[in-house]
Symmetry: C2
Subunit: 484 residues, 2 copies
């Protein structure tokens, strides 16, 4: 898989203080002490009630390849304080993740705030060095995956969702990450070709306004003929055929032929000749009602006459709800008037700065394309996953902050997901790893978060471990986790 | 330079529709028509009055290496409509940017809304294919560079600004892009080591809370001795020396020794032994006033006694303004009481979720670290640069939208920056490329944007071209533009 061969996350992609701390541990002889970090977030993003945890796959690739090259170490030598003992750089040169064990919830799992989603255990200096890179790999991935899931919930299960945010992402790789994790979060398609190449996500797209505005007149259409789909007849003169259909459409809709842009018609025709089976133009370059929809219908009717199936239209501005209802009406009129049933199955793609809220208004669209609000997560552009030390040499560790929200829960933990008799998960339980696990059919006393220390008794029908060991002894465990 | 050797932006990192459009142009024999696109944005971000344009360097690297490999073309063959003529893929295989000319404002220039910042001219199919990648490369770079400049303006010219947003960026490369362009925008330092490695940005950082909480008692400090900086005397027992200073500091400040965390003192001491010349601990792991500042002063006084210069402290929670004023007061007291002038030049680093607004409240901090709000640009997480066709075969092209704001200005343009007699730029003028340029000392009649077609007469003392030719005939022009 091409993605796995790309050395994506270099071990220097971290904060400098990880190295100065590692040095201080090493200098005090503490670097090999066994330490455990919990990774979790304190609040669900977007004011919501859940998150999808993502980025696990990338973390595994990172751990697997975590090793310092000579040039990395030389660079560190040049930026760390000059009194750093040179033997430390030798130590770094030999580091890898063979002593690290990662337990994680699986990629794309629905998770909740304050539950330790990953547990990273291993030599103190190494697991400290991993902090920033792991946070960087899961924070945005989980955020954008969760955002995508919220768009999916708002869109309902049937409509297709297209991610098209590359140009608004944080650079090339931000765009790739967005394409990848919005797909896991429930998007069907991406416009990003490289994401299709690397991750096998289905890609989609037909034309932009620039294509339409690049045409001026029908003289630019070439070739000016098209054969029927069955190839039985000679190529027909498509210009005159289209003009005939256009005038019939104008009559049907009571439209003024003088307002129709000839350049737009030329663009549509030219595209239809290139892709007679994939005709889906953007119809709002000038005016949907006075030009775009008329030109579309004329060309689509020509295609139907020749046995092809036009696909539909894209709307990219204005009131998508009103416009798509209007467009539906025109399609139905044409279908009835000209007895062209193919017009009943034309689709509408809507793509105008759509947010989770405005998605509801696009209900007449079959496909919705989302860019900016999806990839930048406008409503909350960051997720605050943190990485907190909870145990060193078997002794629990805690940060006692003056802000009680920021105090950490000490000790090594286990996380169980309780399932009810209908098979639905109903509670995630965090307890100490040394406590005995909840048992199916037995009542369990637990303290729900935020319920002021009031105990609750629940009886699970089934108990599952939420986290799995996904990396140990330098190897990725459970190959399935890498299949995304 | 390592960065330039990384094949960063593959030509597939674009929207699929660029390829379907390119095919339709090719099929109609229009692919080599000379076309011109303008790149600009419609509104300054963050409700502000200016932007910094950035990402030019990356665009040049992209253009220089723009070429399809066999595997790229094979992938495209698999995702483009099946009726695509196979000869098109041959055509793609041979494409490059040798026919493309890019005019751009220089990296990091102050620019304004609706001014064409880049002009991309060349064969229609090629310049169309470049759209998404160029937008992706300049949108976030310009946004985060502008955001950094706003933080710089809020911080004033003297204080140091540290970028530390890697863990909240859009994945690894989002973090690198942020580090790089916030440096151009006015940040002095980054925590991101890889950004130091690739771009030569100064890196900074010392320790996190996990380092502090990993210590429990003074027994974990090792070695327990330190030599004086001049090495004249034998190593001294640093534990008992510190205990002595700690009790004097407690007396001075009227503090309760019982509230002091021994683990924190051990962490500070251990770090100071490792880096006696770079002692800058984070002092809010437990309580700044009851523990952190006391432990800091004790260790820093030991270092001073041995001839070292402690650097300062970091505050990472609570009211940074109040706390840093308190810390300043303690430093001054120690300096006076113990006659240690080095305590007057200790610095305070503040790093608690700082925004452009809250930056003003951190005025007593010498260094301010900014993460989330800087790299995610919380106030406006995307910049809407667009790429609009303005000329084909020498004929101006225009998109006439029903939304007048979205209509484009047709034709090839020139952009001049007018300078007043004091040497200050005072107006950017956009005119058609065929018009004669403004002349120094001669009055010029122009129409300011948003002034309802009222002409204004101005007389520049000097006239400069805002854009330069930075790429042509497959080569980067003006090597200076690549020096960032």
């Amino acid at each position: 898989q091409p993605w796995e061969n790309m050395a994506r996350v270099p071990p220097l992609l971290t904060d400098l203080y990880q190295f100065t701390m590692a040095y201080a541990y090493w200098r005090a002889g503490r670097h090999d002490e066994h330490a455990v970090f919990d990774l979790f977030f304190r609040d669900n993003p977007f004011g919501g009630g859940f998150s999808l945890f993502a980025g696990v796959h990338d973390c595994l690739l990172f751990l697997r390849s975590f090793r310092f090259a000579d040039e990395d170490v030389e660079f560190l030598r040049s930026v760390m304080p000059p009194d750093t003992d040179p033997a430390f750089f030798q130590f770094l040169r030999c580091l890898d993740c063979s002593g690290v064990t990662l337990h994680s919830v699986p990629e794309g799992t629905v998770v909740f705030a304050r539950v330790p989603l990953m547990e990273v255990a291993g030599p103190l200096a190494v697991v400290q060095l991993l902090e920033t890179s792991l946070l960087c790999l899961v924070n945005y991935a989980s955020l954008v995956c969760t955002n995508a899931a919220r768009f999916r919930l708002a869109a309902g299960p049937k409509r297709k969702l297209l991610e098209m945010g590359l140009r608004r992402a944080q650079g090339p790789d931000g765009g790739l990450t967005a394409s990848r994790y919005t797909h896991i979060g429930g998007f069907d398609l991406t416009s990003n070709v490289q994401a299709g190449f690397l991750f096998g996500i289905p890609v989609a797209g037909t034309m932009a306004h620039s294509y339409v505005t690049s045409f001026t007149s029908l003289e630019e259409v070439w070739p000016q003929t098209l054969s029927a789909v069955n190839g039985e007849h000679n190529p027909v003169d498509i210009i005159s055929l289209t003009k005939g259909w256009l005038s019939r459409v104008c009559d049907l809709l009571g439209a003024e032929p003088g307002k129709i842009h000839e350049g737009e018609l030329a663009a549509f025709l030219s595209y239809a000749i290139a892709y007679p089976q994939n005709f889906l133009p953007v119809i709002d370059s000038y005016s949907v009602g006075c030009s775009g929809i008329l030109n579309f219908c004329a060309v689509a009717l020509v295609l139907c006459e020749l046995g092809y199936r036009p696909v539909g239209v894209r709307l990219d501005s204005g009131d998508l709800c009103k416009q798509s209802l209007d467009v539906h009406r025109v399609f139905r009129l044409c279908s009835e008037q000209f007895s062209i049933p193919a017009f009943d199955s034309l689709i509408i793609v809507g793509t105008n700065n759509i947010s989770e809220e405005s998605l509801a208004e696009t209900f007449p669209c079959h496909v919705v394309g989302v860019g900016t609000h999806l990839v930048t997560c406008t409503k909350q552009p960051s997720l605050g996953c943190v990485y907190k030390l909870v145990e060193v040499r078997g002794r629990p560790r805690m940060k006692v902050s003056e802000d009680p929200e920021k105090s950490t829960v000490p000790g090594r933990k286990a996380v169980y997901r309780l399932i009810d008799p209908e098979g639905h998960p109903f509670l995630d339980v965090v307890c100490l790893a040394v406590e005995s696990p909840p048992e199916a059919g037995l009542p369990l006393s637990c303290y729900p978060l935020g319920c002021n220390h009031t105990a609750l008794s629940v009886t699970p029908a089934r108990v599952t471990c939420l986290r799995q060991e996904v990396f140990s002894k330098g190897q990725v465990r459970m190959g399935r986790s890498l299949k995304h």
